[in-house]
């Protein structure tokens, strides 16, 4: 089994016009908690619901590390080392449809990562099944020494 810690790996996604965005492959527990705290609202019944306005921007800010986007002068707009607040100011300057395209790409990435994690967990469970489910051992049928 690998480390339970999240390495800061990134994935580059291609969007329209040959542009790319570089995103976190996985969020750490802390990154996810910070983001989800901004993305979701807690209802009176305790159920979490997506914030109708802020869900998208905070999902993008949680994942976005870099991009290839250029300004009107053809110069790359640098975002790689910005604070979250500074990154938000830049992202908020995008046209709405371009922001939506980035959001859609990141949602697809998150779905793909979630599916991959679920598959790995299932594979791990199926491989460990013979040792974790041992009804005969629990009943004492095969335990003990055979002297």
């Amino acid at each position: 089994m690998g480390s339970r810690f999240v390495r800061p790996d990134t994935v580059t996604l291609t969007i329209s016009n040959g542009d790319t965005i570089t995103v976190r492959k996985r969020l750490t527990a802390g990154e996810k908690r910070d983001a989800y705290g901004r993305m979701y609202l807690s209802g009176a019944d305790g159920q979490m619901t997506r914030h109708p306005v802020l869900y998208g921007i905070h999902l993008v800010l949680a994942y976005l590390v870099d991009w290839s986007l250029k300004d009107d002068d053809g110069k790359k707009v640098e975002i790689a080392h910005l604070s979250v607040d500074d990154l938000k100011r830049v992202v908020d300057s995008l046209a709405h449809e371009d922001f939506s395209e980035i959001l859609t790409a990141i949602e697809a990435h998150e779905d793909a990562q979630r599916a991959e994690r679920a598959k790995k967990l299932l594979d791990g469970e199926s491989k460990s099944a013979p040792t974790s489910a041992s009804p005969s051992g629990a009943a004492g049928g095969s335990s003990g020494s055979a002297s």
Binding site: P8, D9, T10, V65, D66, A80, H81
Partner: protein
């Protein structure tokens, strides 16, 4: 010698420490260190990143020592 008010040590994209009042002389970085992620700073490779008005400096960290909130690091000669 190059100096700056604020920089950071990063493991990949992840900031693992802030470096304040830093100076860089003969590939040796010195400065005050805060906001240390003790797990992250134990990982490798680390990069020192400092942003000035003109550019972003990025150097690989070859050796690192932290004592009493003060950092000393040997950096790569080439920017990454």
């Amino acid at each position: 010698m190059v100096t700056g008010e604020r920089g950071s040590l990063r493991w990949g994209y992840r900031p693992v420490a802030s470096v304040l009042a830093w100076s860089l002389h003969a590939r040796t970085l010195s400065g005050r260190v805060t906001d240390v992620d003790t797990y992250g700073i134990s990982q490798r490779p680390l990069v020192f990143v400092a942003t000035t008005e003109r550019k972003v400096w990025r150097f690989s960290v070859l050796e690192l020592q932290i004592a009493d909130g003060h950092l000393t690091a040997r950096l790569s000669s080439q920017e990454t």
